[in-house]
Amino acid sequence: MQKSNNINTTTATCPACGMLCDDINVSDPSANTCAKSISFFSQPITESSPTIAGKPVSLDEAVAKAASILKDAQHPIFAGLSTDLSGFRAAFNSAQQVNAPMMHINAESTWRNTKVLQSKGWQTTTLMEVKNRADVILCIGTDVVSHNPRFFERNVWNKEALFTNPQTRNIIYLGGEGLDTSHGVSPNGKQPTVLPCATKALPEITAALRALIQGKTLNTDSITGIAVKDLETVVTQLKEASYAVLIWVAKDFSFAHAELTIENITESVVTLNKESRAMALALGGSDGDTTVNYAHTWLSALAPEEHDLKQYDTVVWINSFSPEKPLPTTDAPIIAIGNSQTQFVTPPAVFIPVATPALDCAGTLFRVDSSIVLPLKQTRESALPTLSTVMNKMDALLT
């Protein structure tokens, strides 16, 4: 049970995307400029009961049922993992007890990045370096704002910067579909460069970019509809930059072997850094994915991998942050533990509503750029148990 004197905050950190803006006015949500954040902090409070096959039960009955299903499982998996650090730690311990692997709801996209890290490594930067140094920002296949709505507001069009004039930054969009490039217009009206091509053409255009950065000549005037001379201009701007930043969002790269496209970006940066300064930056992120990647790695010495849920006979599905995201499609019994707002088409074997970090309880999350870790505050009264409480109860029954 949370105490009310914990809630004395007006400013909070928002877990709705990987950027973790920590300037959210929770006493006046209308002052907030981000739709994702408004929607997150205005979730209604429902005190829904745990259920077994859709029928309300007590917490202890639900936990006992979940433990008995897990004990009978041959190949269980802990998936979803949309939670914060302490929730993940507790889930990790439970998964260890039943030898279950773990997979985050964003595994498909984060794994694209991990594959590049494990194949070649990379050279990356963080948001404060962007905010204070970047004079050329190249967004590849993404507008960023679909994922991180306040990226430009907070890190690009800031009033002051230590080493660059924010107003004169050169913003370039290369490829991608349905982009909102309006955020790339500077407050004084400077337009971004937009070089459009289809998402499926990104492998080709990033390979061309990498080749040009390496000093190779292309025997063509145009690639996927983009004039080579325009691409050459981009390359010149990157090389002349004091600090160029090349940005992508793995979720926007929904095509086969996207890791090779990401590698084109990261290896372009490696080449640029031989003479000038540039850095790569993977943005996006949600549902505590960066936190889960990091904590899983230090607790097990291995990054979490992508798994096929159909290979498992029981799924523990943890989803504290995103009630709108559906349960996975599987014939196996699902033990769903998560946000009290979660709606089901078919009720899972067991459902246990838990506290959402940043609403019902405090917590901790890693930002998408990985080095920055921020505390989350409890921002409303709630009687919901935390994920750790539920996991600890279950552990006691599993031993």
Partner: protein, 556 residues
């Protein structure tokens, strides 16, 4: 409840005890004086024939600074041996590559199994301190602590460039220690990590960072002074400029003079003791460095010994790691600029005894160990995992204690390296007392922990019990017993009870008005709020396992 360890052969250099038969009494996690006859002894253990030392302290090991986690993530192949269905298929030795990037759980277990009860992460970026403490919080069995990195952060460099007075620097340094829950201050490639962001590729001691027009020497002077003025025991922890460069010993010698006699600790000095003599333009300058340490009483050093095998180098020094990335084995690396604070570089590396440079590095480290006369001023490290995994400490101890074992290893080196090294001519063998000094008493004294690293009254009852053996690698590899805060946690090399340890910190006083300028800076240039940078004691203890110990004495 009182526990008695009797008839132990005790090595306790803090009290000048050199292999003397003694009894040790433990109550409530601490060592106490001999109780009166009326007090009941609840448990007695006869340690006849056993060697007893305080729990060992690793004063420099990368167990939680974020970089090793990047290494874990990048190097799944290091863990492959652990995935074998048949454990017999893999014989795990000290140099196994998975020991370079163990999980936090395995890290804690391996340390305590070797008799270590406290380990210090030497490279905590302020902005990344929360992660460092979270990782260390998930490291069982041992106490932890960290050194906060300053000197490449733009806030400090602006202060220096604007000729802020020493008081303003002191307040910022003291505030940083409090805000990041650390016990010391480290500077890595002073000014160089920052200069790399402005596309400078090397930075010498008297060369200016081209944006701020300040030199590494000025940074060292200012920070060493600050650490001294605010009363922090741990001297400024210095990773010199020009890491790994042939001929860098001159930078290292000059660095010793940069603090005007104020104490400084030069870390992993092996990597900074290279000459540029000979056909290969790479030679040992260990003699010059050791002589300088012997003559400069304000200088302490840890060695950062390399041992042959697969490992990974993880450093805040992204300027030099970027230069070294071409030597990566396997061929991949991570270089990061981080949040106008510092950076990092993670480069996997395989040290091979048939390689001339690697063989020289091995010999240089040992030459330094054996040529520095005062074991209170030199510390046993491999800069885990940079020189070798910490699990190779027992092997390293044998190299120091056993001249014929050392000679045998030397004979396997690259022949050109053998010709260029005078290691074999050094007769010295470390004694148990000297090993206890460098791994216990000296380390505790250096860091400023009165109740650690010794077996006197009032000390935390962290105690390691060994069976004396001529094979010192076997002896130090598997203690018979380890007590952590009075509890028996290791028996015959196996953990019998899981405990979680505490976090050692320093909390020097500072003028609270320092936050006025910091707040303004955060609001203009940072991406988070000042309040979210700071880590409270309550947050440290929020996992229900950890707690904070401050070693700062009240002013007076």
């Amino acid at each position: 409840m009182i526990t008695l360890l009797k008839n132990a052969k005790v090595y306790d250099p803090a009290h000048g005890v050199d292999g003397v038969k003694k009894d040790i009494y433990i109550r409530n996690g601490h060592i106490i004086a001999k109780p009166s006859k009326t007090e009941k002894i609840h448990e007695a253990m006869d340690l006849s024939g056993k060697v007893v030392m305080a729990g060992a302290i690793d004063m420099h090991s990368h167990i939680g600074g974020g970089k090793v986690n990047i290494a874990r993530m990048m190097l799944p192949e290091y863990q492959e041996t652990l995935k074998y269905a048949d454990p017999e298929a893999h014989v795990c030795g000290p140099q196994c590559s998975h020991n370079a990037t163990p999980s936090t759980i395995v890290t804690g277990m391996h340390y305590i199994e070797m008799g270590y009860t406290a380990v210090f992460e030497p490279a905590v970026l302020g902005i990344n301190a929360r992660q460092a403490h979270l990782e260390m919080g998930d490291t069982p069995m041992i106490d932890k602590g960290g050194y906060a990195m300053l000197g490449n952060d733009d806030y400090f460099l602006r202060l220096l460039a604007n000729k802020a007075d020493q008081k303003a620097i002191n307040d910022y340094v003291a505030w940083t220690l409090n805000a990041t829950q650390t016990i010391g201050i480290k500077v890595v490639n002073p000014g160089g990590i920052n200069a790399f962001k402005f596309n400078q590729r090397r930075l010498d001691l008297d060369e200016n960072n081209k944006h701020y027009a300040v030199s590494p020497r000025q940074i060292l002077k200012s920070l060493s002074r600050a650490v001294h003025d605010i009363g922090v025991a741990k001297p400024l922890h210095v990773h010199c400029n020009n890491l790994g460069v042939a001929g860098n010993f001159q930078t290292t010698l000059d660095t010793m003079g940069a603090s005007d006699g104020i104490p400084m600790h030069l870390t992993h000095i092996q990597f900074h003791s290279y000459g540029a003599e000979g056909d290969k333009k790479f030679s040992s300058a260990a003699a010059e460095i050791a002589e300088a340490i012997n003559n400069n009483k304000h200088i302490t050093a840890d060695v950062g010994q390399i041992l042959f095998g697969q490992t990974v180098t993880a450093s805040g020094d992204n300027m030099m790691q970027h230069l070294n990335a071409g030597f990566a084995n396997p061929k991949k690396s991570v270089i990061m600029d981080i949040e106008c604070d510092a950076g990092c570089g993670v480069v996997p590396f395989k040290y091979r005894d048939e390689n001339y440079v690697n063989a020289m590095q091995w010999a240089i480290g040992l030459e330094i160990f054996l040529s520095v006369e005062d074991p209170w001023r030199v510390f046993l490290t491999t800069d885990h995992p940079n020189g070798a995994p910490f699990t190779s400490y027992p092997h390293l101890i044998r190299l120091l204690m056993d001249k014929s074992f050392r000679a045998e290893a030397f004979d396997k080196l690259n022949l050109d390296a053998q010709a260029m090294s005078n290691l074999k001519a050094i007769e010295r063998e470390y004694s148990l007392y000297e090993i206890a000094t460098m791994t216990r008493a000296g380390a505790a004294k250096l860091i400023g922990m009165d109740n650690q690293g010794h077996l006197g009254e009032g000390a935390a009852a962290n105690i390691t019990v060994y069976t004396e053996q001529s094979d010192k690698e076997a002896m130090f590899g598997k203690p018979d017993y380890v007590f952590k805060d009075g509890e028996l946690v290791v028996k015959h090399g196996e953990v019998v009870k899981v405990v979680w340890g505490k976090t050692h910190t320093a909390k020097p006083a500072y003028d609270k008005s320092v936050e006025k300028n910091l707040k303004e800076y955060f609001e203009k240039y940072h991406t988070i709020q000042l309040d979210n940078y700071k880590i409270s004691d309550d947050e440290m203890a929020a996992d229900g396992r950890n707690s904070v110990i401050s070693h700062t004495k009240a002013a007076g």
